[in-house]
Structure formats: C-alpha cells, structure tokens
C-alpha cells in the first residue's frame, strides 16, 4: 500500500500525485518509471517518475486520464492508497554535457521530460524546451520547465495559448535559425515522436525517444513491451524505455500500442459509464 500525500488536478485530465515511497525515492533516476496496480482488479500500468524527494521519501507522478485504469486512478484522493507500486524500473537516462539540447514533450509527456530537462541543465547544457498541448487548459508544468530551460516554448494545437501549431513547427523553426543542436529528447504520443524523429534524422541530430509500449510486469519477464530498434527486438521495460529514435520502428510501435483498442473501450465504458470515443 502506498499513501497518496498530495493530489492535485493540473489542467484537464492530468493529475499530479505525490506519494510516499521511500525506497523508490532513494534510488530513482531520471528516465525511470514505476508500475502501478492501483486496485485489486486493476492492470499493472507504467508511469514515469517525474520528480523525487529522497529526504521525505516521496515521488511525484503525473497521470493522464486516457482509459479505464487511469480513470480509476484519477478518482483517488489524498490519504488514499495505490495498492501496489514497483520501481524504479527501466534504465536511467544517460545524460552528459553535450552542448545544446532540445527537449520536446507532448501533453503529459511534458511532465515526463521534466526530470531529464532538469538533468541536462544541471549537467551544464544549453537547454531549449518545447512543450505541446491541445489547448490552454491542458498546459502543465510551465513554471517548473522555465526554471530548468534556457529557452522554453509552448505550442497549442488551437492557438488558445502561446504559439499556435505543433511542437514540430517550433522544432523546424529552431533548426532553421541555424543553431547547432547536439541532442534532442522527445517524449509524447508515438506519432509525435515519429514525426520529430523524421525531422531530426534529416538534419542528423542525435535523438532519444522514450517508448510508451504496453507493459505488464515491467521487469523483463513477459515481452509484452517488445519494440524493434535497429532491426533487433528489445524489451522496452528493461532495455529502455529510452532508445535512439532514428533506429526505432515507430510504425510497429504505433500498431502494438493499439492492440487492445476494442477491449480498452469496453473497460472504459464499464468503469466510467461514458463512451470512450465521445469523451473530451
């Protein structure tokens, strides 16, 4: 049982949880995640460790409501518990001083880029962050990201806040202005990561993507999370979740994460009484 110390709803459908988990807090590094089974009958789902406080023994998670499991988690309150939480899992990000770095986050992915953006900054890099959201009321972590970025940009699909457009528009603009970019980190919907990767490949900029494959155990035991990187099968939970984006078969990832679309719809409707396609 893991106690929820703090819960706050940031923007639409994105919930911040600060939870008591001293062992995970002590060992967590940027790029790692936890696996949560919130209730007895729940799935095990992976969530990135967005921040940690080793002294107080807490970790911070940002969870976006997208389906049955996350909808039920969204209903949890301060003082309640997650039934099970295991971590920190996955390989820590390999962050060094390389020069100029762009970190790109899409939606809740922006929260996931936060610990690494911070680590890039602390390692002495010049950091440009680009966060993309659907609209104004989806924006999260704006102030926090500003603090750890030399330049911070926000795009919204509908132009209701800051710059109208996609993160890829901003990325192209920065590349165009002639900056020498040494590394790009991208975390967000698979399709966004694919487009970013295509752009940076063209410009030969090293790019790292954090793959959001479907997981079960998160410890390398099942192979649910398999992805293809450089033509080889890898298990995202133990070999990743971060990989060289230019080597990733994103088309396969896109298909694999949609594998249970029908079942997910059924679960979501059962739990919320809402039609999944009709929401949002």
């Amino acid at each position: 049982m893991t106690l929820i110390i703090e819960k706050e709803t940031h923007a639409r459908n994105i919930h911040k949880f600060v939870i008591k988990s001293p062992l995970i807090a002590r060992h967590a590094k940027p790029g790692q995640f936890v696996v949560i089974r919130a209730f007895e009958k729940s799935e095990r789902i992976p969530i990135t460790i967005c921040d940690k406080d080793a002294k107080n023994g807490t970790i911070t998670l940002y969870i976006q409501e997208v389906g049955a499991s996350t909808a039920r988690i969204a209903g949890l309150k301060e003082g309640e518990n997650f039934l099970d939480i295991a971590g920190p899992l996955g390989r820590p990000a390999h962050i060094t001083k390389v020069g100029k770095v762009i970190t790109i986050g899409g939606g809740v992915g922006s929260a996931i880029t936060y610990p690494e953006t911070k680590a890039y900054k602390e390692s002495g890099n010049y950091v440009i962050s680009i966060m993309g959201f659907r609209s104004k009321d989806h924006v999260i972590l704006e102030d926090e990201m500003k603090v750890v970025s030399d330049e911070a940009y926000i795009t919204t699909d509908d132009g209701s806040y800051k710059e109208k457009g996609f993160v890829t528009d901003k990325l192209r603009e920065i590349i165009k202005r002639g900056d020498k970019i040494d590394e790009v980190l991208v975390i967000g919907p698979a399709i966004m990561m694919k487009v970013v990767s295509d752009i940076t490949k063209e410009h030969k900029i090293k790019t790292i993507a954090s793959l959001n494959s479907i997981m079960v155990d998160g410890t390398g035991m099942c192979g649910a999370c398999r992805v293809e990187v450089g033509g080889k099968t890898k298990f995202a939970c133990v070999d990743g979740p971060e990989f060289d984006a230019h080597q990733v078969d994103f088309d396969l990832l896109l298909k694999r994460i949609a594998m249970y679309a029908d079942e997910e719809k059924e679960s979501y409707e059962k739990i919320t009484g809402k039609d999944k396609d009709g929401k949002e």
Partner: protein
C-alpha cells in the same frame, strides 16, 4: 480387512465441461478414496520411494498416518521436509520421481503418492487443522530471500523453522513465482498457493512485495540493512523468442505473457478484471513442454475453436508430462507434429494472420538423445491463425545479475554455484532453482532451497 489392490483413480471434471472453465481439473480424493489408496502402501522396510523424492518426504510414515486417519499428523510429517505439500501433490512429475521408484510399480501400479500428499496437504490448509504444524521461534539473525517461487518459499520456511528472522523480497505483487503467474488455475488453484503462503506467514516469514532487487534495492543494500545472508531464487524469467520475421506482430505472445495475463492478472475474468487478452479462434502454441500444454489448454478455455500445438518433433518426443498431454487431448487440443515455423504474416493492422510452416522429418539422435528434426525442402505451407503463443522456453532474467558483477554466471546467464549448498561467488549469497539449473521443476527448486537453508545456517553459525 481385504487389502485394496487397485490404484484409486482421482475424480476429474469431465473433459466436456472442464474445457470451458478455468476451475481445477482434478478434484482430489475423498476421505474414503484416500484410505483405500493408503492401504496399498506396504510400508517397506527399505522405502525406495523416498530416494525418488528430491526432498526425501518420509512417504511410508505420512501414509501410515493417513491409514490411521491422523491427517493433520500426516501433513506435519510431510512438512518436516516439504513445506508445500498441496502444491507438490498437484504438480510434481511423480511418475518420474517418487512413484517411479515405488516397489509396486514393478508388479503393477505404484502407490498414488502425489494424490495422497495432496489429500493430506489440503486437509492441513485450513487454519483449524493447521495446529500440528511445526512450532517456530523467531531468532535474532536475519536472512533475506529474493524471489518467492517454490525455491524461495522453501528456503524461507526451513530457515524460519531453524529460528531465523526471514524476509522474502518479491518483484511482483503476489507471492509464488511461477506457481502464481505461470501454472494455470485449472492445474493449481491460486487459493492453494495463497494458503501455503499464509502458512509461511504463520511461522514468522515476512513478505515484501513489489521490490525488485537490483532496482528498488541492491544486493549490497540488503547486507547494509543487517541481513547476514541472502538466498537468490530468481527463477528463469526471460522468455525466448525464435527471431523469425514477423514475430512482433500483434497477438503473438510469449507463453510468459499469455499465462501472466491469464493467471496473475486474471484476464479470463475480463472485464471484471481490467487486464485484457486476445482470445482468438485459431490459436497456435509453438512448443511441446508443460508450458505449451498450459497455454494451449488456456486457449481452449478462452473459447478457441481450434487450440493447436505446433511441435517440430513427433509425439514421442513431447517433453510435457504424459498426464497433461492426455488431459489436453481429451479436452480437444489438436497436435501438429513435425512442423516448424519459418515466418509470421500479418494483416494491415499488424495482427498475425498466417504462420509459414515447414515440414520436418526425424534424423539422427542429437546430444539430448532425441532424434533431431530435419527440414524437408520445398514443403513450406501457410497455416491460418489469429493468436500465437511462443512456448519454446526461457532463460535467466538478468535484472539483478547485470548490476551485481560479483556474482559469477555461466554462458547461459545462470548463476554458478560452488558447493552443494548453492554458495555463489559472493560471500553470504546462495542461489538455487531455475536461476542455477535453467528451467526445471518445482520440487527441484524446493530441494535447492532446502539445501541452501542448511548452507545458510552453517554459514551464519561460522560467522
């Protein structure tokens, strides 16, 4: 009283009904049946059956208690050397172990030792009837056990009985290792594993779930916390794939994933439970061992029209237990022998649609003594499927070992041990079970856990 001479069969759910549910197939002896079967044991002076048991269960002694209707005593007798009788009574390959040695097997059929063990074990599962269980005293020296599979559970139980303060660390949310995530409910009900775990708690063993040693804590952290010794019962948890084209298509599972979704996550109760699984109409399971049988019989229970085994050798070479092969046949599983997959072909959405198979013939015996399958050129053909389960084995899970170079492993990634107690290359660290031997059996893992408990006791006393 006329002695019963006929081996008493165990009642089973009919093939017709059991192939549609996940409930236990074999229903267990009634008291009357157990008494009749127990009568058959000759209580040999020199009980050779015991030699066949990797943990030396005192077979005639426990059967004698059954004859006297002292069932709790029978269970306690078994538990002196085997802390999981209800599990072993169900899943031990008795036909190769204790029963193979029984003197009666020469003239006819051996005593049904496994079934009697199950009967006694189940009797004592209840709290009320557990009173005879071994007494324990919590000691001051503490030992950590990593992994809660049968090996870890046994090591922990034996150490607790010897007076150690034992904590089990387990990566998953439930204790039991393969017993909970691999072996299906219809062969080993999870309530049985739970009850055995409760028994361990009752003798003072502590459980820390959701802790991945090597990630959540390191092995060194355990020693820093004051543990005097550590037992590693990590199991063989890394699924093998064939590295064929199309193997990552949708609805192609490793047996581990397929069985974990089913057993640990209860996908067969979806949508009551949240974890989904692809049910499929034509399900092909590749492999011929116990794991493959468990997967294919699960597929049948999910409602597959055709649940099939694809095996590259012939029926004689199937490595699965005979009883389970027969059960599978009775339930309607189809077997395709002497065929080997070459490639998987999918539809536009990426779901598997066909397997390209190649026919095989048996050639010369290989190093394992089995005749080696040789491909027949030009015999390729397409086979329609909508779910595939790859059950060709597993290797050592590297999560802990890759961050602990002090522990020497062999070329397959299994831990090297340096004496009969499972001493590893790191001081105070012992190992046993599948992580040392590669995939083996429940009782072998338990035997190793037991040996290591002795070794750990000696080690701590020598400190």
């Amino acid at each position: 009283m006329a002695k019963n001479k006929i081996r008493i069969e165990m009642p089973k759910q009919s093939a017709e009904s059991r192939s549609k549910n996940f409930e236990e197939v074999a229903l267990g002896y009634t008291e009357e049946m157990a008494l009749l079967e127990a009568e058959r044991c000759l209580e040999c002076k020199d009980p050779v059956c015991i030699e066949g048991c990797p943990v030396n269960v005192q077979i005639p002694s426990f059967i004698k208690y059954i004859k006297e209707k002292k069932y709790a005593e029978a269970a306690a007798k078994i538990k002196e050397t085997n802390s999981l009788p209800s599990v072993c009574g169900r899943v031990c390959p008795q036909e190769e172990q204790c029963e193979a040695k029984c003197i009666l097997s020469k003239a006819g059929k051996p005593v049904a030792i496994g079934r009697l063990e199950r009967f006694a074990g189940d009797f004592a599962l209840d709290e009320k009837t557990r009173t005879c269980a071994v007494k324990f005293k919590a000691g001051k020296n503490s030992v950590a056990v990593v992994g809660s599979g049968p090996g870890g559970l046994t090591c922990a139980a034996d150490l607790a009985i010897k007076g150690y303060d034992v904590t089990i660390y387990e990566a998953l949310h439930e204790a039991g290792g393969v017993l909970v995530y691999g072996i299906p409910e219809f062969r080993l009900p999870k309530s049985i594993v739970k009850a055995e775990v409760e028994y361990l708690k009752s003798i003072g063993v502590k459980f820390q779930m959701n802790v991945v040693i090597g990630k959540t804590m390191s092995l060194h952290d355990l020693f820093d916390e004051g543990f005097k010794a550590v037992y590693l019962g990590l199991g063989a948890g890394l699924p093998k794939f064939m590295n064929l084209p199309g193997e990552n298509l949708l609805s192609i599972y490793s047996a581990n994933e397929y069985l974990t979704r089913t057993n640990l996550m209860k996908a067969y109760k979806f949508p009551e439970y949240d974890t989904p699984i692809k049910k499929g109409n034509k399900v092909a399971v590749i492999g011929g061992g116990n794991v493959a049988m468990d997967a294919v019989r699960s597929a049948l229970r999910y409602g597959a029209n055709q649940a099939m085994i694809i095996y590259r050798r012939s029926k004689e070479e199937l490595p699965a237990r005979k009883e389970e092969i027969e059960n599978a046949e009775e339930e309607g599983v189809k077997f395709h022998f002497l065929v080997n997959p070459l490639e998987f072909i999918g539809d536009d959405d990426g779901f598997v649609k066909h397997i390209k198979l190649q026919k095989m013939e048996l050639g010369e015996p290989d190093s394992s003594g089995r005749r080696k399958p040789v491909p027949i050129k030009g015999s390729e053909f397409l086979f329609d499927v909508d779910v595939v389960v790859v059950a060709i084995g597993q290797t050592a899970n590297p999560v802990l070992l890759e961050v602990t170079p002090e522990i020497k492993t062999n070329k397959w990634g299994n831990i090297e041990i340096f004496n009969e107690y499972g001493q590893t290359s790191m001081k105070g660290v012992f190992a046993g079970g599948d992580i040392v031997t590669g995939e083996a059996t429940v009782i072998q893992a338990m035997g190793a856990g037991k040996k290591s408990a002795e070794g750990i006791d000696l080690f701590i006393k020598s400190l």
